[in-house]
Symmetry: C2
Subunit: 189 residues, 2 copies
Amino acid sequence: MKAQMTNQMNGLDLNQLYETVDLLKNDPKLAQFEFRARNRWVSGGHNRSEIDGFYGAGREDKSRPKPFVFDNGEPPVLLGNNEGMNPVEFVLHALAGCVTTTTVLHAAARGIKIEAISTELEGDVDIQKLVGLSDTLPGGYREIRVKMNIKADCTDEELDELCNYAWSRSPVFGTITNPVPIKMERVKS
Amino acid sequence: MKAQMTNQMNGLDLNQLYETVDLLKNDPKLAQFEFRARNRWVSGGHNRSEIDGFYGAGREDKSRPKPFVFDNGEPPVLLGNNEGMNPVEFVLHALAGCVTTTTVLHAAARGIKIEAISTELEGDVDIQKLVGLSDTLPGGYREIRVKMNIKADCTDEELDELCNYAWSRSPVFGTITNPVPIKMERVKS
């Protein structure tokens, strides 16, 4: 999946993009990815993840010489000391990034040059289920609102078409808007 | 929501915990939180979020003097340069943190002293929908697997009970396992 010549659009290598799509067309197994994380509790609402390898495009990825390390924390009103952003805020960060990248990718495939994208997100959580005061209320986000401002070298109609096509293809968008099974297991070492 | 005396369990202030639960019981509106993020595209699959304020417990939170800043990136096989962890990996980080914190919180409420928690996560994504090769396959995670190892001063049966009670109360768990509406809007400045 390396391109021979550089042909950039929106910071993406178009040759590599088309080659990747051709490879996936010929062998859909290459589209299967397994992402992974390890996490360790520190104290209270503070814990730390390490993320490095994953499986994708038919092989183990070895491109990261050392793991990414990120802390979750909680603000004082949620019994923490802002040791890090809290987990539901990381979900908004992930969603913002994923719909942005998906938009940029399909813009590149259409020959639309993106000049700027900025996004504002809001999401509503009721913590009654979290603290045990309700068993029936939704425990997660009830709704998330995303406002995206895009500047590009095309018409408003083309941008609307791009967004209609691209946004719902974002993997994080798909994870949040659809029910995804989580298999939780307690293990002993 | 400040406790008068410190009474720590698992790094959480139990007085503050009980006081918070009492306040929410008396006025469930205080359980409504609105979390927020801003994101700006950098190039290709690289973009950056800033997160600071939120609304919760009946007021705007001002506890963070400066925003948390996080970058999304992509590995080379997904057309990036590992400018950051990718968005679906941030979802695993958020999930790990949220189920861990929820477990620690309810352990504290039950008087269970946690010594250690470590978690391993895996999740499967098929990128055919992302790149436009399928309209029907799920675009997000198909399944996420979480293995949690807990060391605590209680019996296995008590730990199983704790996990059965706590895990599904995690807001990120609820966001992923239930369909959450996302209202996407393109705005112009």
